[in-house]
Symmetry: C2
Subunit: 498 residues, 2 copies
């Protein structure tokens, strides 16, 4: 009898499926809240979400479940089998879930629930001091969580692990330390170039036409609308509601079609990953996305590497002009330029590809300093502004444009930001590897055929699910571990080439 | 210590709230399935719904719950208190839920799940014989359910009770027996009148304009869009997703705006009832709608009594013509006529107010004959067609226009149809009572002010929830039990007055 045939293993797969049923239900409740729920539905919806979250936690943390995992571990596995990876991840998740006392879980959830609106008010008033007491409490509770989970080098590592299995802040610090001067050099050179005249794109872009164009593009890159759809939301996102149900959202600006288009390309990148997971083991670790840094590699790949390329606009400008007639006055080269512009800016989510990671590094440094005890919460604004001016040469005039701009901290989320940069580096590394391994991908992309690139990602990134840890997965797929080299090459080509 | 302060009662209210959380989650899963779920999501969605249904059943049928109910019954109540009604309804629901062996529940659910698509195929092919074996099985299982539940006069009564607490088929038969000749007489006289020339309404009605007009109307009658919304679905429906979240759907015909308008008015009637329930006891019987016959009274009231009245079109034709310019050539009187036309037709859901209840009586008679053993399943088509020709003077040429037209039987739903007629009678009875008790309602309606009528319904029908049984509720609200008199008067005014 192999491990996967033991009753313990069978029980765990049944439980995984049940938890996936509940988790996908929770995801629908959240999706609906963001896309259409009427205003007054919020209180009841919060109770539904809390109940489901609690129920999933109760079911997974029963002693019996720990016994099943131990039985599987005793039985041993074939290396790199589904069972091997599943049991490894079940153990990891079970230990983390059971190490937290329920009093701490409850206090954390309650504090989060309150902090979100306090942050929103503080941001509106651009007054960090209003948010500081809540932030202080969330950091303290997060530190307690980290202590429960345990760590080798520092508490912050235990937090990162929620988003990026196996990542360590020391390694990230090294990576970012090497990356920063290169990015600064590229940014300075890019700023010195003559900017694209945005008025050339000025015009009216009716929402229905944007929707039709975006749908054509999403279908072309491989998003399956029989197993997904696109809706409207204030903040674009992608969520999986089941093995054959992936929901994307975007937002529309009737004066610029690129906001919704790149929103769709980004979220469709996440969506392709979701649609590429193995439906036959939905709910099991091997049927789940492995990390945020890998997820973000897929969204950035389709948004930036594919969607902002010269080839993309060669292929798609005629279709865009079909919907938006005034674009027929422009050349593909102009569209390419327009979508690869570097600019100094305060706001991370509006940043271009060159400066984006500088925004991330700032947050990473602030977070590590706070969790190491080197930076007091009260001093965050001054430290943020000092570092920001150092990196960007801009003086932060108000907290809303500075340390209050992101929602993450108000949700008690610390250690998440670095995954955005890992996503950028992974995207470039994987894209370069795919083109090197299969040179026909370039000619396919030139003719608007995205199937070769998608198949490469499907096979090497999507199908394995969480079978390998993130770094291992990337290295196996690309043939070498991710570094920042491919990304820097990509940025130089896009932003500095004549 | 009063009953409502006992631990047993408190436990039951906590359980009710938990079951409402789950039930509203189930409702969202269904709403999403009808409004936007991608095609391939259906299998997983079915598993989610089955899991939630099973979980709710398991939680409610625990022995402990029966003990709590018995404790409450022992403690006694103040007559007509919340606690009185809650415990009465908990007892009723608990006994029904626990009397069914789980093997029967499972077999019924499985059979239903299969029968729906068999029916859809049979209807497409217009071949009853294909559906007959499944129908036979569903009827047999329903008979077994009725035997488990128990009844006084006949098994069919036990089934009706799922939809209309306290209704009995003998009383319905008497009611319908009296109503039929009157309806037939009105119908014959109405058919003899010159029909409205529908070509006067011909034109193009863009969906966005229909949506804007419908929203204005729904807001005017009191539907709260902060606690609800309107979406598109193949079959219009209304569903409550929480104490402040009511979803309506409608469908659009770009050649006739009335399809979506009356869909919205009908569903908004259900929605006003839902929004008028007591949010402070959401999930408890006193916070729940009492029956389908009362629910349908509210939808029919706003759709027909208000929405098809002469006053409605006096008030709303200018707004309709604002959106659909060609309507400015018509008079309010013409719109009134156009929306009160009697016609012979095969299909229930397309029937006018005069013939509608004749369609219902036919179904009621077929169902009672089947459950009494007087009619074999194989003989349903012939019997249907014979009775239909007798009532409508039309020969049924194919089963799809006859006994295969409705989805209900394929869902194992028997005893539901009569509630549509009860709704019609209740609507007329309540509307007449409201106008008689508060004569200012007439002048308010004439000026497009719907608040008086809504407040009357809110106070007497919505707020009590399931505090009283349906007949009792209607009699208390109107001052007398519902009969068919008010409805016949209404029909004569609408269809026969010069």
């Amino acid at each position: 009898m192999t491990t996967s045939e033991t009753p313990a293993y069978q029980n765990l797969t049944v439980l995984s499926r049940e938890l996936a049923l509940l988790g996908d239900t929770e995801a629908l409740l959240s999706w609906d809240q963001e896309t259409g729920m009427p205003r007054d539905g919020v209180a009841w919806r919060a109770e539904q979400l809390a109940w489901l979250g609690g129920e999933m936690h109760r079911r997974f943390t029963r002693d019996e479940v720990g016994g099943w995992i131990a039985d599987c571990e005793d039985a041993g596995f074939a290396t790199d089998s589904d069972a091997d990876a599943n049991v490894r991840e079940w153990r990891h998740a079970y230990d983390r879930a059971t190490k937290l006392p329920s009093s701490l879980v409850e206090e954390f959830e309650k504090t989060r629930a309150m902090a979100k609106s306090v942050w929103a008010d503080a941001r509106k008033a651009s007054d960090f001091s209003r948010f500081a007491p809540d932030l202080e409490k969330l950091i303290d509770l997060s530190r307690q969580r980290a202590e429960c989970w345990g760590y080798e080098a520092c508490a912050y590592d235990a937090l990162i692990d929620d988003f990026e299995r196996g990542a360590r802040s020391a390694e990230l610090a090294t990576l970012f330390g090497e990356l920063r001067p290169e990015l600064v050099a590229i940014a300075e050179a890019a700023f010195a170039r003559e900017p694209f005249d945005a008025s050339l794109l000025a015009g009216h872009y009716p929402i229905e036409k944007q929707q039709a164009f975006n749908r054509e593009v999403a279908e072309a890159i491989g998003f399956d609308f029989h197993a997904g759809r696109i809706d409207t939301a204030v903040h674009p996102f992608c969520t999986g509601l089941g093995p054959r149900d992936t929901r994307l959202t975007t937002r529309y600006d009737e004066s610029d079609f690129r906001s919704s288009l790149y929103g769709v390309l980004h979220e469709a990148g996440h969506g392709l990953y979701d649609q590429g997971l193995r439906g036959d083991c939905h709910g099991q670790p091997v049927g789940k996305a492995v990390s945020l840094g890998v997820h973000e590699s897929q969204s950035r790949l389709w948004e930036n590497h594919v969607g902002r390329s010269a080839e993309f606009w060669e292929n798609w400008l005629p279709r865009a002009a079909h919907y938006f007639h005034h674009l027929s006055d422009l050349t593909p080269e102009q569209l390419y330029r327009a979508n690869n512009q570097a600019e100094q800016s305060y706001i991370r989510v509006e940043a271009d590809e060159v400066t984006y990671d500088l925004h991330i590094m700032l947050r990473f440094e602030i977070e590590t300093a706070v969790f190491s005890g080197d930076l007091a919460v009260a001093d965050i604004p001054a430290e943020w502004n000092r570092r920001f001016e150092e990196s960007f040469g801009l003086k932060v005039e108000k907290d809303a444009d500075g340390c209050l701009q992101d929602i993450h901290w108000s949700l008690g989320i610390f250690g998440y930001f670095p995954t955005y940069s890992l996503g950028n580096l992974n995207a470039s590394h994987l894209y370069a590897a795919a083109r090197q391994q299969q040179p026909e991908i370039d000619s396919q992309l030139a003719s608007g055929d995205y199937s070769g690139l998608l198949t490469w990602m499907r096979t090497r990134i999507h199908q394995p699910g969480s079978r390998f840890l993130p770094n291992d997965l990337i290295a196996r797929a690309a043939g070498s571990p991710a570094t920042s080299q491919a990304h820097l090459t990509h940025l130089r080509e896009r932003y500095l080439a004549e």
